[in-house]
C-alpha cells in the first residue's frame, strides 16, 4: 500500500486518536501523519484519557494509534475496552510497542483482541504511514474507502 494507491484527499476528514504518555512521540506521529494529509488529531496520555475522547459524541474517531506501555490504563486495556464496546469495536486500532523479548507475548495477547497492526519502536515515518494506509484502505482494496 502506498500513498499513490489511495485517494488521500479523504484523510483530512478523518480524526486520529494518538495515545502515548510521551508527548514528543505523539507530536512526531502527528507530524508524520500530517505529511500525508491528515488534519484532525486527538491526543491522550493514557488509556483512561483516550477512553474519554472515544466516548465524547462530538468526536468521530477513524483510527486509534496507541502505545502499549502507559500509566493508569495501558494499551491492552484500551484495546479490550474498544473491542468490547458495540459503538467503538470497528475502529481500526494500531498498537505501538517497544522492541524486546516479551513483545511476542504481547502480540499474541493483542491478537486475541483483534489489533489491526503493530508498529515497533523506534519506527520511521515511512513505516508508520504505510501501516496507517494499510489499516484504513488495505483490507479490501478500497472497499472501505469512501468515494
Amino acid at each position: 500500500m502506498d500513498l499513490f494507491d489511495v485517494n488521500t484527499s479523504t484523510l483530512s476528514d478523518k480524526t486520529v486518536l494518538i495515545v502515548d504518555d510521551d508527548k514528543t512521540i505523539r507530536d512526531i506521529i502527528m507530524q508524520n501523519l500530517r505529511g500525508i494529509g491528515f488534519q484532525r488529531f486527538l491526543h491522550a496520555g493514557n488509556g483512561v484519557e483516550a477512553h474519554k475522547h472515544l466516548h465524547n459524541p462530538k468526536n468521530s474517531i477513524s483510527l486509534i494509534l496507541c502505545d502499549w506501555d502507559m500509566p493508569v490504563a495501558d494499551g491492552l486495556t484500551l484495546l479490550r475496552a474498544v473491542r468490547g464496546d458495540e459503538l467503538l469495536k470497528d475502529i481500526p486500532f494500531i498498537m505501538i510497542t517497544a522492541q524486546q523479548t516479551q513483545e511476542r507475548l504481547k502480540i499474541s495477547q493483542a491478537a486475541k483482541y483483534k489489533v489491526d497492526a503493530y508498529i515497533v519502536k523506534p519506527f520511521q515515518a515511512e513505516t508508520l504511514r504505510k501501516k496507517v494506509l494499510q489499516v484504513l484502505f488495505g483490507k479490501n482494496e478500497g472497499q472501505k474507502e469512501p468515494a
Partner: protein
C-alpha cells in the same frame, strides 16, 4: 564391614574424587610396646601377623588374605608420633584416629602430645587410653579447651578387645562423617555464591528491560525528529527538531553510562569506595524511571540531600533496584514511593516506603528468608534475602522490613559510614 563403611560405599558418587573418605588409618602411641602391639593385634590382626610370618612361612593363610579393617601405625614416643602425623599430612594420607596413652614416660605426656597433634592435623580424632590413677577426664577437657571438645574421647585401662574395636569404628566413622559434612558445607557455600550472582544478574536484567523501553522511546524521538527536520524547510522547525534529538541523545548517553557502570562494577567483587549515597539512589531511580512512569508512581525524596559512605556501589544499586521492583509490584494502580535519608551515629539511615496495601503480618517475618516469594513463578524469592545480606553481611549494617502504621511497606536499613575491617564478604 561397618555400617559407616557400607553407607559410604552406597553414596560413593556423592564423595568427591581424591577425598580421603572412608579413612581407617589409626595411629597408636604407647611407650609400652606390649600394650601398643595389643591394640594393633585387635584392630589389625592380619597386619600384625603378616609382618613376622611372611618371611618364615612364605604365604599367608586364606583367611589372612582378607584385608584388615584398619591400617595401624604404632609408635612409642611423642616425637615419633608427631613425625608420623606430619608425614601423613604431607602425603595427604591422614590418620582418622589416634590412640594416645596418657602416661608416656617422656618429657611430654599424651595430653600435651594431642594438643600439638591437633595443631598439625586439626581433623584428627584422639582417643586417650587412661588408667584410673592418670589425669582425670575433666582435667583433659580443661587442658584441651572447649574448642576441641568434639575431637577427643577416652577409654579406661584395662580394656577389652570389643571396647577398642568399638571405639575405633565409632571414631573413624565420625571422622568420615565430619569430612562429608565439610565437603557438603563447601558445596552449599558454592551454591550460595551462585545464587547470589544469579540474583545480581536478575536485578541487572530487570533494570535492562526498563532501559530497553527507555531506549525505544528515545530512538523514536531521534528518528522521528531527524525525519521531520529532513522534510522541513523552516529553520525554526529544524532547530527545534535538532534540540529534541540532542536532548534524547544526551538522556540515552546518561542512561547507558549508568547501566554500564552497574555491569562493570558488578564484575569487581566487594569494590568498596566512598560514594555519595544520594547519587547512587538517583542512578537507581534513573534506571527504573521508565517503570515508575509506566506504573504511575511518584518518587519523593526527603531528609538529607547528600551523605557520603564507604559502600559497594553496584550492591547498593541492586538493593534499591530490588526494593523499587517490589514497590512497583505493591502498587499496581500507581502510588507514591518515599525515600528518606538521615544520619544516625556515624551511619546513614535509609528508608523506602510504598503506598501499597502492606504485607500480611503472618508472613512478614518470613519475607527476607531465601526462596520465600508471594509472586509465584514471577519471583525468585531471593530479592529481599539478598538485600538483607548485602546490607548486613557485606556492609555490616542492619535491615528491617515492616508495615507502616499509615499503610504500605517500609524497608529501613542502616549502613555504617566507614566499612569496618574484617567485616567483608568471605
Amino acid at each position: 564391614m561397618s555400617n559407616a563403611v557400607k553407607l559410604f560405599k552406597e553414596h560413593e558418587h556423592l564423595i568427591p574424587k581424591g577425598s580421603p573418605v572412608p579413612n581407617r588409618r589409626i595411629l597408636v602411641v604407647d611407650d609400652e610396646p606390649e600394650i601398643a602391639q595389643g591394640i594393633q593385634r585387635i584392630l589389625s590382626p592380619q597386619q600384625n601377623q603378616v609382618i613376622p610370618l611372611r618371611s618364615s612361612r612364605g604365604s599367608a593363610k586364606p583367611e589372612e588374605k582378607q584385608k584388615s579393617e584398619f591400617e595401624v601405625v604404632v609408635v612409642n614416643t611423642p616425637q615419633r608420633a608427631l613425625e608420623e602425623i606430619k608425614k601423613s599430612i604431607e602425603s595427604n594420607n591422614p590418620f582418622a584416629v589416634g590412640f594416645f596413652d596418657v602416661m608416656l614416660g617422656a618429657e611430654m605426656d599424651g595430653i600435651e602430645l594431642v594438643q600439638k597433634a591437633f595443631q598439625i592435623d586439626p581433623r584428627l580424632f584422639a582417643v586417650f587410653v587412661t588408667a584410673y590413677h592418670d589425669r582425670s577426664v575433666d582435667s583433659i577437657g580443661n587442658f584441651l579447651g572447649e574448642e576441641s571438645r568434639e575431637k577427643w574421647d577416652y577409654i579406661n585401662k584395662p580394656f577389652t578387645e570389643g571396647e577398642i574395636l568399638q571405639k575405633a569404628r565409632n571414631s573413624t566413622s565420625l571422622w568420615d562423617l565430619n569430612r562429608l559434612k565439610d565437603w557438603q558445607a563447601d558445596r552449599l557455600s558454592e551454591a550460595h555464591q551462585i545464587l547470589l550472582s544469579v540474583e545480581k544478574q536478575n536485578a541487572v536484567a530487570a533494570i535492562g528491560r526498563s532501559v530497553a523501553h527507555e531506549f525505544g522511546n528515545l530512538l523514536t524521538h531521534i528518528i522521528g525528529h531527524a525525519e521531520i527536520a529532513q522534510m522541513s524547510d523552516q529553520i525554526s522547525e529544524i532547530k527545534n527538531s535538532l534540540d529534541i534529538i540532542l536532548k534524547a541523545g544526551n538522556t540515552a548517553a546518561s542512561v547507558l553510562k549508568n547501566f554500564r557502570n552497574l555491569n562493570e562494577a558488578h564484575d569487581k567483587e566487594a569494590d568498596f569506595k566512598i560514594h555519595n549515597i544520594m547519587h547512587i539512589i538517583d542512578e537507581a531511580i534513573e534506571l527504573m524511571e521508565f517503570r515508575f512512569r509506566r506504573h504511575n508512581i511518584k518518587v519523593k525524596k526527603t531528609g538529607l540531600a547528600s551523605y557520603s559512605a564507604e559502600v559497594n556501589k553496584s550492591s547498593i544499586i541492586q538493593v534499591f533496584a530490588n526494593l523499587f521492583i517490589n514497590a512497583i509490584h505493591a502498587m499496581p494502580q500507581g502510588g507514591e514511593l518515599l525515600i528518606d535519608m538521615k544520619e544516625e551515629d556515624s551511619s546513614v539511615s535509609l528508608s523506602v516506603k510504598d503506598s501499597g496495601t502492606g504485607i500480611d503480618e503472618k508472613i512478614l517475618s518470613r519475607v527476607t528468608e531465601p526462596l520465600f516469594t508471594t509472586k509465584g513463578s514471577e519471583g525468585s524469592g531471593l530479592g529481599l534475602a539478598i538485600c538483607k545480606e548485602i546490607i548486613e553481611v557485606e556492609h555490616g549494617g542492619s535491615f528491617k522490613i515492616s508495615n507502616h502504621p499509615k499503610g504500605g511497606v517500609v524497608v529501613q536499613f542502616m549502613i555504617p559510614q566507614m566499612k569496618e575491617k574484617n567485616n567483608g564478604f568471605i
